[in-house]
Symmetry: C2
Subunit: 373 residues, 2 copies
């Protein structure tokens, strides 16, 4: 029997409850399809941070690096300032393992209602491939204060005062700036991933940018797209400005097959995508390094107020588990998981938020049983 090792980071709030359901389902899929997953738990999250001040240590990261896959619940806690946990844990893992693909299937499952009028499951079925390690997520920026970052402050000050005639020097703490970086290699590898994916689907790839305003970073992105597409003559390509694509997601989602996007725009349009596929309760995500350690997570947050109530909807987590199985090469098991999610929906074996009467802990049992049937 094949045996896989996987790491598990349940995190905060509802994280542990939804991950428990996901594991039931993945274990059942293993039983059915003849493999085994040995789980190792990591207790990273808000609780540990509040108690010890530690987010994620170099040692933990090294330890995590021994696993091909991490199953991640959710992080976030009202007692912690926005940005601390997200940057210190979630983004830290994405960057440390160079998980350059953020994979987001946008698929309206049978039995789910979309907020869009007159759209059916066959109209909403595409995949967003979000670049996950560059752009405005690199975390470079500062307030315009004299101090240790004086060097780049000076540059900004010069640029800013030339441009606006503002004397920043006398206005310390009056400005903040943020730098985004896009690289040729970083764009190429994620675009190649997206083209490869499009070749296995309807062979259409849409690239998102805002090359008419952020001409530097997205001008390079577009240039690399032009070069990369030469290697994929069978794939039809098009550009959408990020503002326009939000319109077409809502008006004509059936136009899309695979969408490749820089990091920050990807963050925005995948949440919109989550809503048109029925909401955050149904939106899975993978952070993928095809040759390294990948991480799979529902894209919703930790919903602290539902913690411990056994009411959270675990479907996005279970679906993310299916992406995890895909990354291990267990494609049949991965498809079976998605089919059984659909069965649970059609049988109304769902939580309250989806109009059902089941508890969180019932859902994993139901789906596991369905897989094993």
């Amino acid at each position: 029997m094949t045996s896989y090792n996987a790491a598990c980071m349940p995190g905060d709030g509802i994280g542990p409850e939804i991950i428990a359901e996901g594991r039931k389902v993945l274990d059942a899929a293993g039983e059915k399809f003849g493999f085994d997953i040995n789980w190792t738990d990591f207790d990273t999250g808000a609780e540990k941070y509040l108690q010890t001040g530690e987010l994620i240590s170099e040692d933990e990261l090294k330890e995590l690096g021994k696993f091909p896959a991490i199953y991640f619940g959710a992080i976030g806690d009202d007692r912690v300032k926005p940005g601390i946990l997200e940057k210190g844990i979630l983004l830290a893992v994405r960057f440390y393992f160079d998980q350059y693909v953020n994979l987001r299937p946008i698929k309206l499952l049978q039995g789910i209602e979309t907020p869009l009028a007159n759209k059916k499951p066959e109209d909403i079925d595409f995949v967003v491939v979000r670049e996950n390690t560059e752009d405005f997520y690199v975390g470079i920026g500062s307030r315009a204060k004299a101090g240790k970052q004086r060097d780049h402050l000076e540059v900004i000050r010069d640029l800013y005062s030339v441009k606006f005639g503002v004397d920043v020097e006398t206005d310390s703490d009056e400005l903040a700036y943020q730098i985004g970086v896009v690289s040729r290699e970083g764009s190429k590898r994620v675009m190649e991933y997206a083209f490869d994916l499009a070749e296995t689907r309807k062979k259409k790839l849409t690239s998102v940018d805002k090359a008419n305003v952020l001409t530097d970073v997205y001008g390079l992105w577009r240039e690399v797209f032009e070069e990369t597409k030469k290697g994929y003559p069978n794939v039809t390509t098009e550009y959408n400005f990020v503002d326009a694509i939000t319109m077409w997601f809502v008006k004509n989602p059936e136009w899309f097959d695979v969408v490749v996007t820089p990091n920050m725009f990807g963050d925005i349009i995948t949440d919109l995508g989550a809503m048109i596929q029925g909401g955050l309760g149904l939106a899975p995500g993978g952070n993928i390094n095809p040759k390294g350690t990948s991480m799979f997570e529902p894209i919703h947050g930790s919903a602290p107020k539902y913690k411990g109530k056994n009411v959270a909807n675990p479907l996005a987590t279970i679906w993310s588990g299916s992406l995890l199985l895909d990354s291990l090469g267990e494609h049949a098991a991965a498809s079976a998981v998605v089919s059984s999610i659909e069965h649970s929906i059609l049988n109304k074996a769902v939580t309250k938020d989806m109009g059902g009467s089941m508890h969180t802990s019932d859902i994993g049992d139901w789906i596991a049983k369905d897989i094993l049937r």
Copy 2:
């Protein structure tokens, strides 16, 4: 009789046709409400750029500065690379006149269908106040090449190589970067505008940011929002991350009253807003400097392929004209214009894209007549 001077920049593609209709309507509103508008035309746009290489000159800008309002059609031409006309004309005007408010009413008019299921005109009626002079629109960035911008290249190179262990020096032309700047004053003034507006409406203001990732620029934005709201105890406030707000626009647009947003996110969410109010054919915009020269424009583009065909939908332009009247203080006339737009829709006196059979040039006549009735 009161007399106003206004500038007119019809621009490219369908621009001249839709602006002609807008002027018919504003002139009729003047006749009805007792004022006069003296129009002065400017021929800025792609045609002039292609013939002379000139985008907009300092002299033209100075000339435009004599007018309180500019009525702008659209710019854009397939023969010009993305960014040239947008940055060289549209953004140049916004920045030169420090039009720090981009005002975007999102209102589902009676008789219009939204792509959202089960939403009615009373559910979609809010205003987005987009900051319009800062953020990633400041146009600061470069490729990582040695050369005249060597200074800030060096800073980026250091930051980037510390962060990623990449040796950029040997990889010239392999990176691009873009810098966004947010200032305390720049945030404060647009937030005050938004709070003032909320006080005249349902007294609720939502601030958009991504302070959990772009902690520098949007951390400052959030700090200024916290300070500014102290001056408006009657206004209820909330934060939405930009990714989340795209979900709520689609799922619960009735939650919003006034939304204040940094520039780039504003660009994205106002296009989404345009779609939920029925599409670009119905989305007006104003670029406002409350003490200077403002510019009013439909938010759609120049649609070159419909140029000269007398089929373009002028309603967004006419509605933008209503915002222009508002900026002149002619509020009764401004409301009358919007009412007559609604009458034209209810009477199916609309262009083909809206299911009618009228031509562009009929619409201005119809609405002008309706106002004068």
